[in-house]
């Protein structure tokens, strides 16, 4: 069983949106795009009741729901073995769901299977409304039979989804705000469930420990320091209760329950005495919690039950080197995973067709896979390179409010080298209105494929800008880009005849003597700015030279100031705002004017 589709209406920041899940989906996107809202929607639809917080007005888009406003969610569950409703009577029969068929290619759900590729599916609906007189939110979870509007709060209640059935989905949610301490103890429900699922109750050990605690070798009351006091108490007690009981001091309540409750997880580093879990760093705690969940997943899988893990930010408290491995482990032991992340490394490790980039345009959620088709040997080299080695950069760039696709690789590398150097030397204050680094993501374009890269990425972001050279080819790209649907949010072009190297020259010229002095340490020091420009143009992708130049600019105050101005100007031009550094050549086309 797997959740294939989710549709959301009027839930928190999402007025409308659908999400299509793969078996192992990674969701990434800027803050407030709706990643957590997606996970919470799943919890409302298929989670155990306890998983669901009580809803309030704030859970409705706009936070002021009127009586007739509804929060609506629909989950489409697929992957029923054999796609035969009669083989899954616990899901599909009178009193349960009506069988329907999902066309995975389009997301459309049909009442009749007209194509063998369509999947048997069960749709579960959830609605909530705010009762303004009772000041509470009423909710209903039911089988979603057809797409005609139904109102479970006005009409006869549709058929509710039994909790027993949802247990089969096995939805487990690990929130970003998680506290794991105490998770490896019998006080933790997760631990108890895992032990139960794995049939691992340590009964014999617990009973023997109980007996040992009942009859200790050195009873506390027998300690020579305490014994006189105990004797006096016993004597006192005997005055009131002849043949009365005598005092014993025991470590636990001496029943198996108390022994279980007293168990505390310890970890022992090699050769060292064990240290209680609570005294470990949060990294280990985090790992132990997740590992425990995975054992539960494994036990459920062994029993043929589902294990749907929704995991927020697996990177939390986990060292970067382990993040990918952890995610792969979670995926291997679950029937389905839905993971949200802010870490480009985690996102980039995902199958690019299962990596969803979410964004929220005025309440309209979009969740598009990074690639709609897997990369194959037939994929053009530029695309493979962009999406393989460049993938972390692409993903990181797409998280920004604006994204800039430069014409070539050297634009990307040089701009990044300069930006990096300038930022490292900059203080905390940022005086210009636009911060290029915060607002604009830079795509590592390959082989001058600016047009194709744009058309590849335009599905994924609402504010894509392009940056081209001031030569004939660049003008050609401008013409081509302007005819695209939709055209880029802005097209930036270097000055006539200019390329990025000329721009770098212009930055160096802010203090020619100073920057050349900074570069004098090179084994073959340049003699002039023109020399540097020629070398940059001649040795494309000479990263050492790029970094040296970037540092030279950042280390000279006039150069650094000019670089900051350039980046602020580029950010403004991308945002479509006036800036003296970029004139307007045509609507949406901005030309650099030094």
């Amino acid at each position: 069983m797997r959740i294939s589709d989710l549709s959301i209406e009027n839930f928190r920041g999402i007025r409308r949106g659908t999400v299509r899940f793969k078996t192992h989906t990674i969701i990434t996107g800027p803050n407030n795009a709706g990643k957590t809202t997606i996970i919470e929607a799943l919890a409302l639809l298929v989670g155990r009741d306890r998983l669901v917080r009580e809803l309030t007005e704030h859970d409705f888009t706009g936070a002021d729901p009127k009586p007739a406003d509804r929060l609506r969610l629909i989950a489409t569950i697929t992957d029923f073995d054999g796609d035969d409703p009669n083989a899954h009577l616990d899901w599909f029969r009178d009193g349960r769901a009506v069988p329907k068929w999902l066309d995975a290619a389009t997301g459309a759900v049909h009442p009749v299977r007209q194509n063998p590729a369509w999947l048997l599916c069960c749709q579960i609906g959830f609605q909530a409304h705010f009762d303004r007189s009772a000041l509470c939110v009423e909710t209903a979870r039911y089988f979603h039979d057809h797409n005609h509007p139904i109102d479970p709060f006005v009409e006869d209640l549709p058929v509710g989804v039994p909790a027993k059935l949802l247990q089969k989905v096995g939805f487990f949610l690990v929130r970003a705000s998680r506290t794991w301490d105490g998770v490896l103890s019998f006080g933790s429900e997760l631990f108890r469930r895992t032990v139960r699922a794995a049939d691992g109750q340590p009964a014999a050990a617990i009973l023997s420990e109980r007996d040992r605690l009942r009859h200790p070798d050195r009873p506390i009351e027998g300690d020579p320091h305490l014994a006189p006091l105990v004797t006096r108490i016993n004597a006192e007690l005997a005055r009131f209760l002849p043949r009365g009981p005598t005092l014993k001091l025991r470590v636990t309540g001496t029943d198996s329950r108390a022994v279980l409750d007293a168990v505390v997880a310890h970890f022992s580093p090699a050769g060292a005495p064990p240290i209680p879990a609570a005294r470990q760093g949060s990294g280990l705690l985090s790992l132990q919690g997740l590992l425990l969940l995975l054992q539960l997943g494994r036990a459920r899988a062994d029993n043929g039950e589902g294990f749907l893990m929704a995991l927020e930010e697996p990177e939390l408290h986990v060292p970067p080197a382990s993040q990918r491995q952890l995610v792969h482990r979670i995926q291997a032991l679950s029937t389905q995973t839905i993971t949200t992340t802010h870490a480009p490394a985690v996102a980039a490790a995902s199958d690019p067709t299962a990596l969803l980039l979410v964004r929220n345009d005025n309440g309209i959620l979009s969740a598009e896979p990074l690639l709609t088709e897997a990369l194959t040997a037939a994929t053009p080299a530029w695309k493979r390179k962009l999406m393989q080695s460049g993938r972390p950069d692409v993903i990181a760039a797409l998280m920004h409010d604006m994204v800039l696709i430069p014409e070539g690789r050297s634009d990307h590398e040089l701009l990044r080298a300069i930006l990096c150097a300038v930022m490292l030397r900059q203080g905390w204050t940022e005086d210009s209105r636009h911060s290029f680094a915060l607002e604009v993501g830079l795509i590592p374009t390959v082989d001058a494929q600016v047009v194709r890269t744009y058309s590849l990425l335009s599905r994924l972001h609402g504010s894509l800008c392009c940056l081209v050279d001031g030569d004939a080819a660049g003008r050609g790209y401008v013409r081509e880009l302007r005819t695209m649907d939709p055209p880029p949010a802005a097209i930036l072009r270097w000055a006539d005849g200019w390329t990025i190297e000329h721009v770098v020259g212009w930055l160096l010229e802010a203090d020619e003597a100073g920057t050349l002095a900074e570069l004098s340490y090179l084994s073959d020091p340049p003699t002039s700015v023109a020399d540097v420009v020629a070398r940059l143009a001649g040795n494309k992708n000479d990263i050492v030279l790029y970094e040296a130049v970037g540092e030279a600019i950042a280390d000279t105050p006039a150069g650094a100031l000019r670089a900051v101005e350039l980046f602020a100007g580029m950010a403004a031009a991308c945002a479509g705002e006036p800036t003296p550094l970029f004139g307007t050549e045509a609507p949406g086309v901005r030309v650099f004017q030094p």
Partner: protein
């Protein structure tokens, strides 16, 4: 996939045989977890009685009318209905709902879906099924196990001649005939019933009597005396083919007066048909075409039946809380009233005992110790229909039956003469 069908005269234990066969079958193939027997009838009255019988068996079952099953199928399979180009009828357009449900159930996926929960379908009083409802039964029988009982002669609907169910079942299955009467062993009642079935003249002999009672007052006094002398703590029903001036007058007389033989007055309650309840309540509803919620609430409060008032106030409150409405239309309130009454009767349970007056139709499938039949002039239908009506009325009785006839003329015609 298998059909077990039973037929037999009234009181021959058809329902009993249905239950027995059901239990025998379940012994060999028990219900799986989550499965339930589906028991269907046409009318609510029969449904209530069948529900009571099934309850005694301590089985997992669901007892509903064919119409409410049809509505459930149609509303849940609306997507498929549209795919089949069927428009969604209104819930209260019963015939249309059944027609669409029939078309849906002819799809194997739908009947298998029903069968997933209800592997066995039990149907009583199948002779009352018109073609459109029979189609539902046929579709169920195509893939599920069917247990069905009927008696063609107890069908009171003249449009169902020849009887669609009987024509189908004779061809579709081996029908077992039950011949031994169980309801009563009173010879006079058995002979009268047999005569009516055979189109012969029923003989008036105690405790089955046919008497002339030419006025409502006369009839009222006769039934009052009969009840006083013969009731002996048993259940009594006053049945009439049509609750017109004669029957109403007779019952009213008996509730208000004492006879010269010191019998009565008796407390007799008219059991109203759903239609009559609705008509009466609609008459009581004083409401403008469009009104605010306070006005609607006040009008609803004057309807007089507590359960109806509560259900309708709940509806009104939902309109305000879940939809934010300030006003409602009278037509909406009327629709809700119809639905509330219909659902209310659907949930009502059994007879409360005492003296009940009702139509012969309303008494179908029920039994009483004593029956008084009020036979008026003003009734339609052909001779056959009249025979069937009287047969249905007489066979409700276990111990005695008194037939009071409004006119001499009637005694010379069927069903009292050939």
């Amino acid at each position: 996939m298998t059909i077990r069908a039973f037929q037999g005269a009234a009181g021959c234990g058809k329902t009993h045989r249905l239950m027995q066969t059901l239990m025998d079958g379940l012994e060999q193939r028990p219900l799986q977890p989550g499965q339930r027997i589906l028991a269907l009838t046409y009318m609510h009255g029969s449904r209530r009685r069948l529900d009571g019988r099934l309850r005694e068996l301590r089985l997992a079952f669901e007892c509903s009318t064919i119409d409410s099953l049809a509505w459930r199928i149609v509303s849940r399979w609306r997507g498929l209905a549209e795919h089949l180009d069927k428009a969604l009828p209104a819930e209260t357009d019963y015939e249309a709902v059944c027609a669409v449900a029939g078309a849906l159930l002819e799809q194997p996926v739908v009947v298998d879906w029903v069968g997933g929960t209800h592997p066995i379908v039990v149907i009583d009083e199948a002779q009352d099924l018109c073609a459109v409802r029979l189609r539902i039964v046929q579709a169920l029988a195509a893939r599920l196990d069917l247990l069905v009982a009927a008696d063609e002669f107890q069908c009171l609907d003249e449009t169902l001649r020849p009887n669609p169910y009987c024509s189908w079942i004779m061809a579709a299955a081996e029908v077992e005939t039950l011949e031994i009467p169980h309801r009563t062993n009173v010879p006079a009642l058995l002979t009268a019933a047999a005569a009516l079935r055979a189109g012969a003249v029923p003989q008036s002999q105690r405790p089955f009597e046919i008497r002339l009672a030419p006025s409502p007052a006369f009839a009222g006094a006769s039934l009052s005396n009969q009840i006083g002398w013969y009731r002996r703590g048993g259940s009594v029903a006053i049945l009439t083919p049509s609750a017109g001036r004669y029957a109403k007058g007779a019952v009213e007389w008996a509730t208000l007066n004492q006879t010269s033989r010191n019998q009565g007055p008796h407390r007799i309650r008219w059991e109203q048909a759903e239609r009559e309840v609705v008509a009466e309540l609609l008459g009581r509803l004083t409401l403008a075409d469009r009104c605010n919620l306070a006005e609607a609430d006040e009008a609803i409060g004057k309807l007089g039946i507590r359960s109806v008032i509560a259900a309708m106030r709940e509806w009104l409150s939902i309109q305000q809380r879940a939809l934010g409405r300030q006003e409602v239309d009278r037509s909406e309130v009327e629709d809700v009233l119809r639905r509330v009454v219909s659902h209310g009767r659907r949930f009502a349970r059994g007879d409360v005992g005492g003296l009940l007056a009702m139509t012969v139709h309303g008494a179908k499938n029920r039994e009483f110790d004593g029956v008084v039949v009020l036979w008026p002039h003003d009734m339609g239908g052909d001779d056959e229909a009249k025979r069937r009506l009287l047969y249905n009325a007489v066979t409700r009785a276990k111990r005695w039956c008194l037939v009071l006839v409004e006119g001499e003329r009637l005694l010379n015609r069927p069903p009292f003469a050939v």
